[in-house]
């Protein structure tokens, strides 16, 4: 049986499947539930300095099975209310990665210190929400901005720092490079892809906020391209996110260069049981391909594939 465990920036994960930020991430009991369902680790909802209700509804539009559009607007109870949720998740044994969002490097650093104090194992910086005004890509959409925020956070805490970057840019690898130079321990890619839906009968955008972010199967090829492009340009590990709902999807990300992956939208379409299915499915698939561990698969698709005879068995 293939070994599914992976090391990610000093964290030892029982399998490469993390709960993605924003999904089952507001309540500690939900985080604990994702852990019990088999997730290798859980990323919290992105937490800010003060509570935010998020945008009014509608906040979601669903495309049958292949995609999901959302503009939640970063609802969160604020960092001061959140430690009790993390405590509940940790009590259940979950490896918790705390996601934070801020308006500038100073706010990020401040939040990082407070989040670190809750006992999370690592931090993920949301530099990539495509629709939150004054946050996300608006403050972390360029290499310079990414670098400045990561640098400030790395200075503020001793925890591994994962920079989560946006696909809504001409050169995602440049953002990853900036994160690495600034001292990030890992990069996660991708957040949602900027998108919109219109209701033709009401002649208006479906989401209250107008623009939103696309997730789910539709963006898997987009996330894979980002991870594949970034892999050869940084030496810190990568976390692949975007459209993963089967073990094969996850293996595509590993082969493209991801050390671990995050799963979000599949929870909406398949339920939290998806984590158990992903782990057992990956184990079967690795065995079938003669790979002894998930680690061995990382970056395999980059082996210089010359053009000549057909590949040996």
């Amino acid at each position: 049986m293939a070994d599914l465990s992976v090391d990610l920036a000093g964290l030892r994960l029982r399998n490469p499947f993390l709960l993605a930020s924003g999904v089952w991430g507001e309540s500690g009991e939900s985080l604990a539930g994702a852990h019990r369902a088999g997730a290798g680790g859980v990323v919290t909802k992105s937490i800010g300095s003060v509570g935010r209700p998020g945008y009014p509804n509608p906040t979601i539009e669903s495309y049958d099975g292949w995609g999901l559009l959302n503009a939640m607007g970063l609802p969160n109870p604020g960092i001061d209310e959140y430690p009790q949720e993390i405590a509940a998740a940790r009590a259940a044994g979950a490896t918790v990665i705390g996601s934070i969002f801020g308006a500038d490097p100073g706010e990020f650093a401040d939040l990082a210190r407070k989040m670190a104090a809750t006992g999370v194992a690592a931090l993920e910086l949301n530099l990539s929400c495509p629709h939150a005004e004054g946050y996300g890509t608006e403050v972390g959409g360029t290499p310079a901005e990414v670098g400045a925020i990561v640098r400030e956070v790395v200075r503020a805490v001793r925890l591994p720092v994962i920079a989560k970057i946006t696909p809504n840019t001409s050169d995602p690898a440049a953002l990853a490079e900036a994160a690495e130079r600034a001292g990030a321990s890992a990069v996660s890619a991708i957040n949602t892809v900027r998108a919109l839906a219109i209701d033709v009968r009401l002649a208006r955008p479906v989401l209250a906020h107008g623009l939103g972010g696309l997730s789910g199967r539709a963006i898997k090829p987009v996330g894979l391209a980002c991870v594949y492009q970034i892999f050869s340009r940084i030496s810190i590990p990568l976390v692949g996110v975007g459209g993963i709902s089967t073990a094969e999807d996850a293996l595509e990300y590993l082969m493209a260069g991801a050390r671990a992956v995050e799963v979000g939208t599949a929870v909406a379409f398949e339920g939290i049981g998806v984590f158990g299915r992903l782990a057992s499915g990956l184990s079967v698939l690795l065995d079938e391909l003669g790979l002894g561990s998930a680690r061995e698969a990382v970056g395999l698709a980059h082996r210089g594939a010359g053009r000549g005879a057909a590949s040996p068995a």
Binding site: S30, P53, N57, I60, E61, P75, N76, V267, A268
Partner: protein
């Protein structure tokens, strides 16, 4: 699925409650809810108060700003509907005690209809602040349910909370099941009174809702998500949800005492 429908009918049920009827194809069962999008406004979870055929309905009570504005919706206007979501009431028990408070009748009325259609004997303990606010009083009567009323001001039935007559009925009568929907503190009392006489309870619980897909975590209730695991829960499930009857979460996910 999501669709934009035209409001076919508007019925003022009480001074603070209206029913909107509209054509919506998908099959639905009593207990399930839809997300109702008031186009220049918010999108809110609403139980289906009419589930049969295509002429579905929701019954909205003015609670806050949006629901208050929704009272102004006129036939011909367009609203968005997605769903139905969630689980439903099992209508098969023979003798059912229904405890309804406030807008709780909205979801319980079609459930009682289903039970009566199967020949069930239903007693409805119906509570409200005042007589004109007793939601679906006539509708329950028309179904042939036995009605026991309570109002805060005593203008109809017993004076006081509906939990009073409900607890008495539980002690005196013999029922196979208890269904309840209304203020959570009320439901908690019903659960404990039913527990005292060993009766199973089904509670339709409300939480803040956004996605209705079991994803955003807005509607977390203990280890459950009301939008997919509920809204109808068993007493046993609720025993494992420490927040039931104690706190809920606001739109930000912050815990708020009930």
């Amino acid at each position: 699925m999501r669709a934009v429908v035209r409001v076919e009918e508007r019925v003022a049920e009480t001074p603070t409650t209206v029913t909107l009827r509209f054509r919506y194809e998908p099959d639905a069962s009593p207990g399930q809810f839809v997300m109702v999008w008031l186009p220049d406004d918010d999108e809110l979870p609403m139980s289906l108060s009419y589930t049969r055929g295509t002429l579905k309905g929701v019954t909205i009570k003015a609670m806050g700003e949006t629901t208050r504005r929704s009272l102004g919706i006129a036939p011909g206007q367009r609203i968005g509907i997605r769903g139905p979501y969630g689980n439903c009431f099992d209508p098969t028990p023979r003798r059912i005690l229904v405890v309804a408070g406030g807008s709780g009748s909205a979801v319980l009325a079609p459930a009682v209809e289903a039970a009566r259609a199967l020949g069930g004997e239903v007693t409805v303990a119906l509570g409200a602040t005042t007589a004109p606010e007793l939601l679906f009083r006539e509708r329950f009567e028309a179904m042939g349910a036995r009605l026991v009323l309570a109002t805060d001001d005593g203008s109809a039935g017993e004076k006081g909370f509906v939990t009073g007559p409900a607890e008495r009925l539980l002690r005196e009568g013999s029922f196979d099941a208890v269904w309840t929907c209304g203020p959570e503190v009320m439901m908690r009392k019903v659960v404990s009174a039913a527990g005292a006489v060993g009766l199973p309870v089904r509670c339709s619980v409300e939480r803040h809702m956004k996605c209705a897909l079991g994803m955003c975590d807005a509607c977390a209730l203990g280890p459950f998500h009301v939008c997919v695991d509920g809204p109808v829960f068993t007493d046993r499930q609720l025993a494992s949800a420490e927040d039931f009857g104690r706190f809920h979460r606001d739109a930000s996910g912050r815990r708020r005492p009930l």
